[in-house]
Structure formats: C-alpha cells, structure tokens
Amino acid sequence: MLKIGISGVRGIVGPSMTPTLVMDFASAFGAFVDRKPVVLARDTRVHGPMLRAACVSALLSSGCDVIDLGICPSPILQKTVRRVKAGGGLAVTAGHNDIQWNALTFIGPDGASLNPFQGQEVLDLYHLRDFEKAATDGLGRLSTPPESSFIDPYFDDLRAFVDADSVRQARFKVVIDACAGAAAPYLRRFAEALGFDLIPINDEPNGFFPHDPEPRPRNAAQTVSVVRAIGAEAGFLLSSDAGRVSLVSETTEALSEEFTFPLIADAILSRRCGPVITTYSTSRMIEDVARAHHCPLSRTRVGPAHVFLAVGQDDAVLAGEGSGAVAAPAFQPAFDAFLSMALVLETMARSGKRLSALVGQLPRYHIVKEKIYCPASRLHGVIGGLAKAFHGRDIDTGDGLRAEDKDGWVQVRASGTEPMLRIIAEDKSRDRARAKVDKILQTVEQMI
C-alpha cells in the first residue's frame, strides 16, 4: 500500500515502503534543496528509525548536512527549519494514520509544507532518478543538537504569542492525550510554558498507540474518563505528529474535531483581521465566525500543500481544516496543535467561559463523514460518474464534487492518503446529512 503524490510518500511499511524507496524520495528532496541543510524529525512509530536512517543516509549522500531532532512534533520541526534558516525539513510521520503507516512529509525553507508546485518538482526529481551523489569530500554531516536548542526557542515563541499570563492565572486543570506520539516527551514543557495543571495520558513516546492517532470523538474514551474523574476544565487529543487536536469539554463531551478550528478562530481574528483559508470539506461554522469579523473566507482542496499555497497567495491570517488542524501564519505557516491548545485555553481564560459554553455559542451543524474503498485507478472515474447524482445542482469541482443548499452541503472526494472516497455532508438536520451521504454511498456501491 503506497501513495505517492505532491505531499510526499505515504504507505504501509513493508514490501512497498522500503528503505530504497525512502532513500529515493529523500534523495529527490536533497536535490530539491540543493545541498542546503535539512532538519529531520520523526514521530514515535516503531518503524520510524528505519525511515530516519534511510533519510539520513540519502541526504548525506546528496551533500546535505542533516540536523536530526529525533522524536519531535512536526510544528516544532517546522519552526526550527525557519529559525536555523535550513534548506528544508523532512518529517517522518503519518500523522493521524494508524500504526502500520508511515510517511515522509517535506517542509520548505519557510517552514510550511511544500506547495503543489514545489511538491511536483520533488516528484519530478524522484521520477527522473538522477540523484546527486556527493563524493567523499562533499558528503553532508550529521548533527544531533541538544533538545533545549530547539524546544526552548519554540515554547518561548509560543508563550510570547499567546496571552500566557491570563492562562496562568486561570490555573486550569487540563488532560492531554499524546497517543504515545511525538508530543509525548514535551507535554510537561508545554504545561510549564503556559502554567496550567497537566494530567498527561499516553505520554510514553514508545509508538505503541493505545488507539488510532486520529483526534476525533471515537478515540476519546480515555480522555473523557480522566476529565470526568479529576474534574478537568478541558481535554485534548493529539495526532501522532501534534499537527491536529480535538477537544473534550468539562462536561465530558467528546467534541467533533470540526469544533477546534471555529473555536479558536475568534482568538486569532481578534488579533488581526484578514483572509481566512479553509478546505471544501470543512464545516460551515467557520463561515459564521469569519463573517462576524468581516474577514473574507476562501476554500481550497484538502491538504496542507493547497492550504498553505493559498495562505501565501492571500496573505491569510488564519487557516484550518475540519480535521482539527489550525494554523496562525503570524506564529508560523504550519498546522500546530500546541498553538491550538494554547489558544483554546487563552479563549477560556480571557472570556471566563467554560469550554462547553464556548462551543454552545457556535452555530450547530451536523456533519456526517464516511469513507468507502475504491481502487486508486478508478477514484476519479467514479467521481466523474457521480456527477449525475448531483443532478441539476450547482457543482463546485475544486476538490471532487461539492454542492451547497440552503441548510448545508455535500461533498465527495478522493482521499489524499488512501485509496478511499470520502463522502461528507453537513446540514442543520442530522437526518438530512445522513440521507445525503447514504444516497451517494449507494450510488458508489452500485458503480464498483
């Protein structure tokens, strides 16, 4: 199982995701950054050391110095790329995918995911296979900087960006589930930076995920029970690379990951008004928040490559996806769960409102998400055929098919990471959203 595209290479580790494949991609990236230093990090997955070693070897061979941060959350890697003025970054992480998966994600010199044009260039270099091979005297050098040299500057920046004093005074009790992922070693450091009482769970960075590392209600059982047991004000679930976060309220409600983005949008847009970027698959809630701040909103295809291309083009002040991924470009152009958590706490502290009350202020929509297997070779054919099911409606083809109506929207698109079709509908009525999704599911099943 392998998925190669402009956002990197992703697959189930085994016969298709091999050391040589990883090396070929890392070599292509080495050619892309043209012998400039590359910052490398990985999440805690058990096969991470294999991919890391393959990347180190290929990058050194490409003449790139490698700054290896070891197990490190992607947002901290991305910040480090910019701070040390590296040629780029390479994150060995499959984010929210289950434990069998791993991936290489490429970061540009600005700390953002490569945009589609840059991603295509790496892909072209990969296909060309004419990799740079440095002779002995031109090989890169490997360095492993001490943790404090990249962790401290990150949390110093974070503390300066958010209203840490308000958070500190509120003395929140907060549960964070690191899912044994890359954030696990740094939770305490995060809590110290903001001054809250941390109750960490699954904070051994051993890569044995206690549940799928996808932040969403169905994986929140442990967090919910700890929030209940100790009466915490908030619970957070992180993806394995700490890019995404979903929330559990003090009333022990596991909130849909869709809430993360609109909930903290207010905190960012009240700092500075400006364009907001989201994807075609994200809830309408953000539209209401953006409207309240008189900020323009535009939608892109799903995936950081597309989102951060638009962020750069529009000079956006806020970007986010319905998956619990949020970025404030003024902090850094990267999805960042630490920043997201800090802004949730800041919002709670400044407003004096509980998390459940903040969520209650948001317009309630019901989102139904389904996915169905579809052979990779047929994904786009099936989507094309589905156009009929949208008969007579105004179809947006920016990412698969998407149609709006007065109470909601429905979308079907090819997954960026798996051979799956994703079908998403949102409506004020749960039943109507369900019906929209079911109708498309039925049609797809008939087609394949």
Partner: protein
Amino acid sequence: MKKNATLKISISGARGIVGESLTPQLAATLAQAFGTYVGGGPVLVGRDARPSGIMLSEAVTAGLLSVGCRPVDVGILPIPSFLFLTKATKSAGGIAVTASHNPKQWNGLKFISRNGLYLNPLQTEEYLDIYHQAAFDFTPPAKYKNVQVRADAGEAHLRRLLDRFGSAAVKRRGFKVAIDCNNGAGAPLAPRFLRELGCEVVPLYCEPNGEFAHDPEPTPENIPDVCAAVKSTGADIGFVQDADADRLAVVDEKGRPIGEELTLVLAARHVLSRRKGSIVCNLSSTRALDDIARACGVKLFRTKIGEINVVEKLLSAKPKAVIGGEGNGGVIDPEIHPCRDSFAAMGLILEALAAGRRPVSTLVSSLPRYVLIKDRIEGSAERAHRLIALLKKRYEKAGSVSLLDGLKVDFPDHWIHIRPSNTEPIIRILAEAKTAAGARKALATLKSEIAVNLKKL
C-alpha cells in the same frame, strides 16, 4: 578499452567509490539481503573512521530494520574488535562499513557470520542469491525492532587481549612504543591497549576522524612519520595500523620499517618458540615462513588469497594451527579470535621483545630474509584469467605450478605469483627472491611474458 568496474561485490564483501558506485540504495539493499540471510536477530553495525562511514552505516541500519533485524550500533571500531564482539555477544551477524587499506574515496561493506568470521565463499553465494533475486523478508510494521547503541563496544576485545598479553614479562620492561593509527579505526583503542601493557606511548594520528595522515597502505614508503618519531623519541619500537586495524607494520628501534612481510614471520617465530603447531598463510606470503616452519619442525599450509580462506584452513588444520596470517602484516592469533588482528600482533611482538631481551633490529636480523616485490597492472578478473591460461602454458615446465589462486610458480631460488584482485579491478603481480636483484629480475621476466601474452588476448 572496456571500462573498469568501480564496484566489486565478491567474497571480500562489497567495495566501491562513494559518489559513484557505492550508494545508500545499494548499501541498504545489500543489508536487506544479509538480514534476510541471517533470518533476523541482533546484527552489529560498525565502521572504520572514513568520513563516508556514517552515510553508509545509516543505510545499512535502514536495510536491516526493514527485514526485522535489530541493528546494534557499535560506532567506529577496529575490525578485529568487531569480529570478536559479534561472536562474544552471540549476535546473528555483523556488517562492517570499511574499505580497509583502500584510498579515502572508497568504502565498502564486510559481512560477518554469527561465529565472528567473514562469510565464506559458500555462504557468500547463498547470501548473494538473495540479493540478486531481491527475495527480501520485509517485516510487517508491528514486528519492527529498534536500534541499540553500544558505547563500550571495544571493551570485550581489549579485556581478552589483556588476559593474554598483560603478563608481568611485558609490563616489567616498560617499553617505549610509537603508534601510528593513521586516524583510523584503531584509534583510540591502540594507545589504551599499549598503556595497559605498561608501555610509554608516543601517539601519532590517533584521532579516529578518517582523515588519513598518509596513504592507508602501511608499506615502508608511507610511514616516514612514525620512523622519525621512533628516532627522535628513542622508542623501542614503532607500530602502524591500517585503516581498520587488522594489519600491522613494524618499525625497529633505529626507525627503519622492517617490511610488512616480516610482521607475521616475527610473530610466528615467537608463538612457535612457546608452542608447536601448524602455520597457515596464503599463497603470496613470504618463503621465510616455510623456513621457520622447517626449523621448528611444524607444518605450513598455504591457501587462496582472502582472509576467510586462511581462517577456515586455520580452524581445520591438523595438527592444530597455532598461528596464521598474511604477508601484508595480517597476523591471526587463534587464542584471541580467528581473524587478522593488529592488537594481537602487537601483543605477540612485544612478548617476543620482552623474551629476547634484544632490540627489534637484532630480532629481525636473525629472521630468514627474502625480498618481495609487489606490482600491479590495470585489468579485470576476466582479463587476468585469460592471461593466466596463456602464462600457465609458458611456465608449466619451468617450475612447480599452482593454480589455486591465479598462477603461482615456485622455482628453487624464487617464486612469482599473478592473480586478479578480489577488491579492485587490477591484476596483482608478485615476485620474491633471496636478493633484491633476483626479485627484480624475476618480476621483469614475468612482466615481459605478460606483455607478450597480452597481445594475444
């Protein structure tokens, strides 16, 4: 003319030029084949001090992990310590990133079996079958192992060496020893070993950074610095290790290299003075060894070139072998481990020095002396074999011919040997005689025969 291959995958492992033939992808694939061959388990990964070592050891690590092995990173380690540790830790095998005495732009992989020996030709064949068929046992994600780092990797070997050589006889003498590690894998273990033997150490190039201070082949013309150091400090003896510390060259107390051929002769005579047993060496090693064997009344066995060939004979020889090695300064002391070991060589020679109570130059002058000239011509193995077939016809009647490895012809007062290199696309030619003039003449005759026969190819 055909292009010479800059990559050699043979019984001696894989060797190539970094930046050309020896890529991360190739190293990882070879490691996958080896990991599949040993069937998982702990596999030691070590390297000599070459700057390209990290790049290749990371590639090897990735390859081993992908087939379910647990790489044990032992860092920069002398190859004899590496072989010793493979066996001592009951590992499934080992991969050493080293190109021995090749120039800096070269590097390579050596594959080691669970008993701490290089893969023999049959094992190499089996393992290369896996490589060529690309039949790798990629491990499922859940069964991945992690890398283990071993910081004290040299200790096991050092302790064993000190058990054997740390006797009062050597320590009491307090030798002054100049040691040139050429910034290779022998540093910093070598100075420590010598100090533990009670020596006052004059260290030269003992930074394991792989920036060779001189050509890594420890032949007399490459080691003037240690010769000068011996003279200026009044040392009793000088030692030079090659880049992976399996071979040793010796400099006498007057600062003169004794010639790497005599390292084994010196060590063998000492061992046989204590204990009788067979000597095993390869076809190209000096006749002085035959003289020593005869004088001591023991058997001498000669094998094909390649350390593993000497080692396998050493392990099977009857009567039991007590010493073995190669004429290039490689001494094998089976009491330590059946591999070429510059540390064991130093230990044996210091023992000989302590026992003889005479300076090195006197010890050496009492050895049988021959002059061996080594030369080479460009050419692939395939070309060498066609050439050898022609030369065989020419020499059949002139002397006693061996085709065990290339062509070796023994005459009453000299011998000649021509064979393809196992590690480089060159043809090695050697001639040994009692005198320099005799050796030069034998070599000149051989070269003119080669020139004549090359035209027939």
